[in-house]
Symmetry: C2
Subunit: 499 residues, 2 copies
């Protein structure tokens, strides 16, 4: 029942997906295996592959084929229609921006990122301000062009859409506003009632942490490569999925357990995608929605990985692999779990706990929207940042290094990315809520390390859908309702106040 | 002084070289790191990359640009002219064969190879004969088309040319004929005079062998990746070169030493190519000549790696890493060297020593030429093989598995490849001869593990030339004379009869 135009598109996009996989592999290899002396040649190889992909995506016959296939889309199955929708999105994204603007943006972002690396270390915001202003101005140009084909006239919406397709500020504003009011009080309440934990009295060598992590991934049902790299990440699809972590000898909880569960969650998503569609856009993870992809890592890391049941399961293995005395109170399941859940108002986002993390995101969302919409000038950014930190977390960064210079995103031109981190955490809470109701005896299954039902539930309700649904629909399909801020609030309250 | 047409070609071929590197990496990754479950998707990725490379090579503007650049090649430097010559060769190779013949060949070769895998194990030549006949017939079709643009009317020459550009049967025939007469008598002489060796009384675990091999590669001045794979190989250029080996606990000499020197020799060649030309065809190793590339591995493996001086250097390290008593006579430098030089008439080429190996090649060259020229029918191959074995090595294989079914080459459609192995060994002997005369105190340098002069000599006289010269010219440039069979014979005589 398919059409000729659609079939031709499938043939072309199958090659484009191959190029995507190859580009991923070039990056994986560079991070994990390549000698540093290969960097220049590798950068050139990657840029050639990206160029070829762009040429294939914008080949002369593609727009006509898309139009033709769309005209007769009633002849296509649901999956084919969704695939066609993804093809259209790929094409629009590749063809929307004029190549001179794209080049200028790429160049300016690279320049700004290089200056940022030094400016952050030197705590010198002035050094980056002029280049950053130019980058924002180019980003606004980009947003203006992308807005032309959208129904919203907010520049920021065009940027949000890049990382969470279909998402608008009007969608997230009520949720973010509600959390902006609720979270600071909640945080104070948590801090006032928080019990003390015992500090872990031993460093754990990387090879022992790796032994634990490998065992944990096997329990999760992850069966791809597992390597070490300076920044943890995941790549791949179906039969060849790869994840990495790094190790810190004084923090096995964050890196050998939680980060590994995070990347393992991404990996399981990629492993369990619909095999039949593996060489088509619709067969990918919902990369169009950072908020969905992050939910699949966070449901393991932030939901399961912070429960007492999980720590009851993993603690005996930690004791055995790390050779810890069973009666050492610092290494009890209770203390390890409490340590994983410690809340502290602090300056750095990536080190933040589950309660303060969303406040970091709300701050960044507010400020980046203001920068893009012209309501905040670059020179006022440091003060605005510090004001917001005091209002939400009650602390003021002593330096810009611990403030508005800490994250690379903006200085790489990535505006509109941050909200997905919070939406991902909320999606994860809602998915966990649905899953733990659906699976009988959920808590005791976690306590026994029997993750098979979790893996299967996520496969059926999320992974197997590929890109069949929009991000918003998928949450509804998986959990029976659209995103509910109350579920997230209830989760935080239960974990941090009723424990 | 370059021309516009030439500059455009450089831009296109720079992308083609990127694709070559990427295809190499896909293969490396599959052999060394990829989970087996990724094989199907990887095959598709590779075939897409090969297709894109073919499209780029045969793009509409390439023939006109080549013609235009060639018309004005007096405006180009020597390197640019050599680069243009390589571009022409790439293009002719890619465009010579009609795509339906190429497809038929690829398909038939894959089919034949699959049948061969089982037929070899079952020792069943009949099972493969019909498909093999079809493959030969397609190969003859290919050779006939390739012959059209050549001055030779011998089909076999068109196949030889693929693996050693410019080489014809008329070139190699006198050399091969001379060796066919000389070698069987020489072999008998060696066997009659060979001294006994003491069998090595210990197996060495793979990790200890790896420690030795890593140390040896460092001494050779090789600084790329070094991994394990089931079939040893090398890839890369300049800043990112990678080699592999495998380990056999009962044979550290062949795998942790000689195979590692072999691949390390390839690796040094690729590392020391002219950096300025790294993204152009002329900046590659002389891949057009297997006989040259193999000489760069064999000069280390077969020449240096079999000398008493080399074993005097490496034996103390072996004793230390393997924890061998110093007075164990089996593990003395003399016995290890003698073991590495043991000569025995046997059936399998890949396990053959330096004296019997060329006889295996002469046999294959004679038979494959006869198969292609129509002087030998497939059904008569097993008998012809066994007759030749008896004439040259004095033994008859008890099965075809140990006879004409042992090598994959023919069953993959690779005819014309074998002679390069012998020419490579001869080139290596001649290069070693020139080098050991040029470098003062050569033997004592080897004995001290001071390989820096070897690495430098090869860099200046071979590696830095890239594809500036033809294979035949390069041997002249490096050694001052064209290939001399006497140097090779003298080498064998000195090593095996005058030691």
């Amino acid at each position: 029942m398919t059409t000729k135009a659609y079939q031709k598109l499938e043939a072309s996009f199958s090659e484009i997906i191959d190029l995507d996989r190859v580009i991923e592999l070039l990056n994986w290899d560079q991070s994990v295996k390549m000698p540093a002396s290969g960097a220049t040649a590798r950068a050139k190889q990657r840029s050639t592959m990206v160029k070829i992909k762009h040429q294939k995506l914008t080949a002369e016959d593609i727009p006509d084929l898309l139009n033709e296939a769309e005209l007769h889309k009633e002849n296509l199955s649901d999956w084919e229609q969704a695939n066609l929708h993804e093809m259209r999105r790929y094409y629009n994204e590749a063809s929307a921006l004029p190549s001179d603007l794209l080049q200028a943006l790429t160049y300016k972002a690279a320049e700004c990122h290089t200056i940022w690396e030094t400016a952050r270390i030197d705590d010198d915001f002035q050094a980056i301000a002029p280049t950053f202003e130019e980058l924002i101005s180019l980003t606004k140009e980009k947003a203006a062009i992308l807005s032309e084909t959208s129904s919203s006239n907010l520049l920021y919406d065009a940027l949000l859409d890049q990382f969470d397709a279909g998402s608008t500020y009007a969608d997230i504003q009520p949720i973010f506003d509600e959390l902006s009011v609720w979270l600071p009080n909640f945080l104070q309440n948590v801090l006032d009632n928080q019990q003390e934990t015992i500090k872990l009295d031993r460093n754990i060598p990387a090879d022992k942490q790796q032994e634990l992590a490998t065992w944990l991934l096997d329990k999760m049902g992850y069966h791809g490569r597992f390597d070490t790299s300076s920044h943890p990440f995941s790549i791949g699809r179906i039969g060849d999925v790869r994840i990495t972590t790094r190790y810190h000898e004084d923090n096995f909880i964050n890196y050998a357990v939680l980060c590994v569960m995070h990347e393992g969650g991404h990996g399981l998503y990629d492993m369990q995608l619909p095999k039949k569609w593996q060489s088509q856009p619709v067969g990918g993870a919902l990369d169009i929605s950072m908020a969905v992809h992050e939910s699949q890592s966070m449901v393991w890391e932030m939901q399961i990985g912070h429960t007492q049941e999980f720590w009851n399961f993993i603690t005996p293995k930690c004791s055995k692999v790390f050779e810890i005395d069973n009666d050492n109170p610092a290494w009890s399941a209770e203390n390890l779990c409490a340590t994983s859940n410690l809340v502290k108002a602090d300056f750095i986002r990536v080190d933040a706990d589950e309660v303060t993390y969303p406040l970091h995101i709300l701050l960044r969302t507010k400020l980046e929207k203001a920068l893009i919409e012209g309501n905040l000038s670059v020179k006022d950014l440091p003060d605005a940042w510090n004001d917001e930190m005091q209002k939400s977390l009650g602390i003021i960064p002593p330096t810009n290094r611990l403030g508005c210079l800490q994250d690379p995103h903006w200085y790489l031109g990535d505006f509109g990315y941050f909200p997905a981190y919070l939406l991902g955490a909320m999606n994860a809470a809602q998915i966990f809520d649905a899953m733990s109701h659906d699976i009988q005896g959920f808590n005791s299954k976690i306590e026994n390390g029997d993750f098979n039902h979790v893996k299967e539930w996520l496969k059926i309700n999320v992974h197997q859908h590929g890109c069949l649904h929009s991000p918003k629909e998928l949450i509804k399909v998986a959990t029976g309702k659209s995103l509910q801020v109350d579920i997230y609030k209830k989760h935080l309250t239960t974990r941090y106040l009723k424990a």
